[in-house]
């Protein structure tokens, strides 16, 4: 369990984190979202014990981050932003260094090293120095380091930044696998990542929480939630189709994209407009390439609440 109470961090005149309070329970994957400079990294650094809060407290598995720092740090696997590492070390010696700092010994040490190297597919580069590795490999070394002790809490600052789509998928699979009994907090700019791995999303802007909900709950706040998007075979029908759809009750607005002959009908609050629209298409003889129900657009919600 992570408990955060009225956590604040001020630098001179700047308030980076302003009175954050939330709790995270085991099994939850919490996504931290927010524009650059919103205070995501500062919050994670405070939780990981790198910087001290100006006000407020937080506890990790019952250990206060200020009065019981070492025990709190022991419960956390942390990937700092940009995954800084010791470039001159080999992957093997770096991970051994982390294992030693984590007080792993004997067969436990061997097993955890083997697990971390195997799980992040680092076997082929263990004897290379870290500075010679590609960005993707370095990020994986950073993740291996965070997993070393099998900690109950993982705090990962932009874990998929700089990875290619395959590697992103791989890391997300890893997070999903581990999420059952752990608390995982990730920060990200990628909204599809929130959908893919998070059970809960907190959006922060200017150091404050502006939304705290499940990804589905957030998407439901979108004006595109339950909107219907249809693409026409014949662009000439666009104007007529638009007029007909706008005339329907329950339709709040229609957006048109001429480039791909697409219409998006936005429903009035709570209305289901898909049946009415498919009926209308049949009646008017509109040839449809595609007709689908939107589940809400996270990026649009994000922009609306953080702007």
């Amino acid at each position: 369990m992570i408990q955060v109470e009225h956590l604040s961090k001020r630098y001179h005149a700047l308030t980076a984190v302003d009175d954050l309070s939330f709790e995270v329970a085991p099994g939850e994957v919490l996504g931290f979202l927010g524009p650059n400079g919103a205070g995501k990294t500062t919050t994670m650094r405070m939780l990981a014990g790198f910087i001290s809060p100006t006000a407020g407290t937080a506890s990790i598995c019952g250990h206060d981050i200020e009065t019981d720092t070492l025990a709190a740090k022991k419960s956390i696997g942390y990937l700092p932003e940009g995954a800084p590492l010791y470039g001159e070390m080999t992957v093997q010696s770096f991970l051994e260094f982390i294992a030693d700092l984590r007080n792993l010994t004997g067969s436990m040490r061997r097993n955890r090293l083997e697990y971390a190297i195997g799980r992040l597919q680092l076997g082929s580069v263990t004897e290379q120095t870290i500075e010679t590795l590609s960005k993707g490999f370095r990020r994986r070394v950073g993740l291996a380091q965070a997993l070393m002790q099998d900690p109950p809490v993982l705090i990962l600052d932009e874990p998929t930044d700089g990875l290619d789509p395959n590697q992103k998928h791989e890391v997300r699979t890893l997070i999903n696998e581990m999420s059952r009994d752990k608390i995982i907090i990730i920060s990200t700019h990628l909204l599809e990542e929130v959908d893919a791995v998070c059970t809960r999303a907190i959006i922060i802007a200017r150091g404050r929480i502006v939304a705290d909900d499940s990804p589905q709950g957030l998407a439901a706040k979108s004006r595109y939630y339950n909107a219907v998007s249809l693409q026409l075979e014949n662009p000439q029908q666009l104007a007529a189709a638009r007029a007909a759809i706008e005339a329907l009750p329950f339709v709040a607005a229609v957006e048109v994209s001429e480039r791909d002959a697409r219409l998006t009908a936005l429903p009035r609050a709570g209305a289901q407009i898909l049946p009415a629209l498919s009926e209308l298409a049949a009646r008017q003889g509109l040839k449809l390439k595609e007709l689908h129900l939107e589940s809400g657009r996270l990026d649009e919600v994000f922009r609306t609440i953080t702007a």
């Binding site: 650094r45 014990g49 956390i76 800084p84 590492l85 001159e88 700092l101």
Partner: protein, 244 residues
């Protein structure tokens, strides 16, 4: 304390992972010997001792030790690896101590590699080996003092060049604290007690009394306290500035 050892071993290993260690040791040995034989007149003096060797150590260290110490924290802050290190279950104090000891062991290694000159002087005459041992102890303590100052300067900045220059300046002030160059700055306004206190901080006075072969507990205490003070200052500086 286990963590101090782990951090120390990693740090020491990183010296040898780059050419830094070899370049440093080579330059140290070449300069130490050049000073001894050319400036110190090792042969011309006709005495079987290592005074011309040890006399130049403070000046050699003045530039070489800040060069060794400048990367201790500035580099960690620049690359961000300090965040990785300090979010492991270690205390700041363990990290500061571990890295300092690594640098000190490295300096001790460079110093130990000057052993041919000890063999030479024993081959040529009958020196007082007790005094030579004291000279080595004094030199090692001096290196430790400079390293502690260098560690603190390195913690103040992300820039290694600035850390180096700050290190040289502060070491220089401490080296000459007992001399008019430094004391005159204070003489016009400070009370005599303060001037005496500053004069007693001089590296050179304490080093020379040890190098003469007299290991006085007060000189040992001086170096121990100086190192402890600057390591504490390093810890405070890091605590304030580590995230910047």
């Amino acid at each position: 304390m286990r963590n101090v050892g782990v951090i120390m071993r990693r740090e020491l290993g990183s010296y040898f992972a780059t050419p830094l260690a070899y370049v440093f040791i080579l330059i140290f040995l070449v300069l130490a010997n050049a000073f001894t034989f050319y400036l110190g007149g090792f042969f011309e003096r006709g005495q079987a001792d290592l005074a011309p060797f040890f006399n130049f150590h403070p000046w050699l260290y003045l530039f070489l030790i800040p060069a060794l110490a400048m990367r201790l924290w500035a580099e960690e802050r620049k690359t961000g690896s300090i965040e990785l290190l300090l979010t492991q279950p270690v205390t700041l104090w363990e990290a500061v101590l571990g890295k300092f000891i690594a640098a000190w062991i490295f300096a001790a290694l460079a110093l130990a590699l000057t052993f041919p000159i000890w063999i030479t002087v024993n081959y040529l005459g009958k020196p007082d080996n007790g005094a030579i041992l004291a000279g080595y102890v004094g030199s090692l303590l001096l290196a430790g003092g400079f390293l502690a100052i260098g560690s603190c300067m390195s913690a103040l900045t992300r820039n290694q060049v600035i850390a180096f220059i700050l290190g040289v300046v502060v070491c220089f002030v401490f080296l000459l604290a007992g001399f008019p160059l430094v004391l005159d700055v204070f003489r016009s306004w400070a009370p005599q007690a303060l001037i005496d206190a500053i004069a007693s901080l001089s590296f050179l006075t304490h080093f020379e009394s040890i190098a003469k072969g007299v290991i006085d507990i007060r000189d040992l205490l001086y170096f121990a306290m100086l190192i402890a003070f600057f390591l504490l200052a390093t810890t405070i500086a890091l605590d304030v500035r580590k995230a910047e």
